[in-house]
Point group: C2
Chain length 312, copies 2
């Protein structure tokens, strides 16, 4: 019912970062793709197999130093149900290796439909008296344009478990301001208003370390807003995309953290997944080792700005 | 690159309604579930099989009188990748029966990630030179909290095909106003601002009958806003949920249409899927016939308010 488990994993690894698993085929070494196509064909099934092998290698290489992974559902849906099956296997494998899994699906709907998404990704599905786990992640990103009706069903489910959600507040993309930066008639921006709603929704999911189970997505590309929101939303844990490839640096994300170095987890996707392409002369079979080196570099860079991470 | 194909199907059937396919297990007759569980077990796979058989029966019974179906992805994801496979089969089958398929996924993301969702649901996926169709719907619902970056990749893809998107503008749920009804500092509401963006995004996807390929989701439960938006957004086709079970009636949706009876398609999910439960003494094996009777009743009720549907 909070992010306490994630927070403990961050403190244990002294690493407030999450590895995005957005495995485009371009990011995957040829030897993995060739083996997958040879076995399943150059089709959705073969692509999904390549994604799975690539992900497994990354998880093995990162699991003892990176506390969490964030698979982006779009890159699995793209390969149809074969891709979604790879997503499910990825979540299961990352959890078996002790990682906290944040599913980036930006899901949103109302009432029983939102409840269905929450069950799919965070809970259990009932089948006439039996229960089964559909995907079983630890956290899900959520878009709250629909208001409380779109968030409450997930919050209710999280009450009965140790899971959480991250609500889109101020996203990292260039046009995020078109709506999110607009001021409402009370003078507050849309993103600030959404942030305040996160604080309110989180009241029922307070954890032991000051943060609730309703977090917020706030982009690294808007460091001022990141610092503003850290101050104004003291109980809301941040998931921060936009580090690295999108232009945000460690200095830009420093404002996302509280005085104990808690309060945020920084995502890097391409930087970690494609690290093997940047090391000259590297054997592509060492792609996972290169990912690990980049994850260490990123961790050290962020920690150099925030110092030791301590529990409140 | 527009909704012309949908519009022609509406005119041909003289029916501006879409059957929601949100197949909860509760909605499915026991004889279907028992057969599915006997073959695959009382588990995600068995449930997904029951959904598939139920959907197939509905599509067979509706395809000549209802122009479109709207599967709600949450109710398939709930059953894991087995459920997503049923979703794929449902889309494929509905298309083979000549129906227009609107996938209700409320997907949203930015840049190449949104492009991945668009390819997954509306386009083709490349696998190292080969292409394959992941899900292949005709339209997708989209949440545009992220601004133009979250919509443009789908619009670009629709340019090269005859597909479209429906952007959430004013949703049917009780709390939709928390954000959507708030006024921005220029005096316009958030939903109206979002509606204006739909008009703008749609400029590149104009069709022959006055409507673009960027539609809007506007709930039947807010008839005043529905009429207001019909006047203010002349090129934006509406997908209208909330009819029936959520409380909106045919009178409430009349304002969604233009003078030719075009401009909107009204969704009914539970009303059609659960019609068999409301007919006393009905053999559950006749569930699809009951769905057809309800679809006819709904069509006639709506058409009694709008008259003959004509092309501009």
């Amino acid at each position: 019912m909070s992010f306490d488990r994630l927070i403990k994993a961050i403190v244990k690894t002294q690493n407030p970062s999450v590895a995005g698993l957005d495995p485009k085929l371009d990011y995957i070494p040829d030897y993995i793709k060739e083996a997958a196509y040879a076995e399943y064909g150059k089709n959705l099934e073969g692509a999904a197999q390549a994604l799975w092998v690539f992900n497994k290698g990354l998880i093995d290489a990162l699991c003892d130093i990176v506390p969490a992974v964030k698979p982006q559902l779009a890159y699995y849906e793209m390969y149809g149900w074969y891709g979604v099956r790879t997503f499910q296997k990825t979540v299961e494998y990352a959890k078996s290796k002790g990682m906290f899994v944040i599913t980036d699906g930006k899901r949103n709907d109302i009432g029983t439909t939102m409840q269905a998404y929450a069950k799919a990704h965070l809970g259990l599905t009932e089948v006439d008296g039996e229960t089964a786990e559909a995907f079983g992640s630890d956290a899900l990103t959520v878009n709250a344009y629909l208001g409380t009706d779109g968030v409450k069903p997930a919050v209710e489910l999280c009450k009965e478990s140790d899971k959480g959600i991250f609500v889109l507040v101020k996203t990292s993309n260039p046009s995020s301001g078109e709506l999110q930066d607009r001021k409402l008639d009370d003078g507050l921006t849309v993103y600030r208003t959404m942030g305040n709603m996160c604080e309110k929704w989180g009241e029922e999911l307070q954890g032991k370390y000051g943060y609730s189970g309703v977090g917020a997505v706030v982009g690294a590309t808007y460091p001022e807003q990141l610092s503003e929101l850290r101050k104004e939303l003291p109980h809301t844990f941040f998931l921060v995309p936009g580090y690295g490839a999108q232009g945000g640096g460690a200095k830009d994300v420093a404002g996302a953290f509280d005085k104990n170095g808690l309060g945020a987890i920084i995502n890097s996707s391409r930087g970690i997944m494609c690290a093997w392409k940047k090391e000259e002369g590297l054997d592509p079979k060492d792609y996972a080792a290169a990912a690990r080196r980049e994850a260490v570099r990123m961790r050290d860079e962020i920690v150099s700005f925030i110092g030791e991470i301590k529990l409140n």
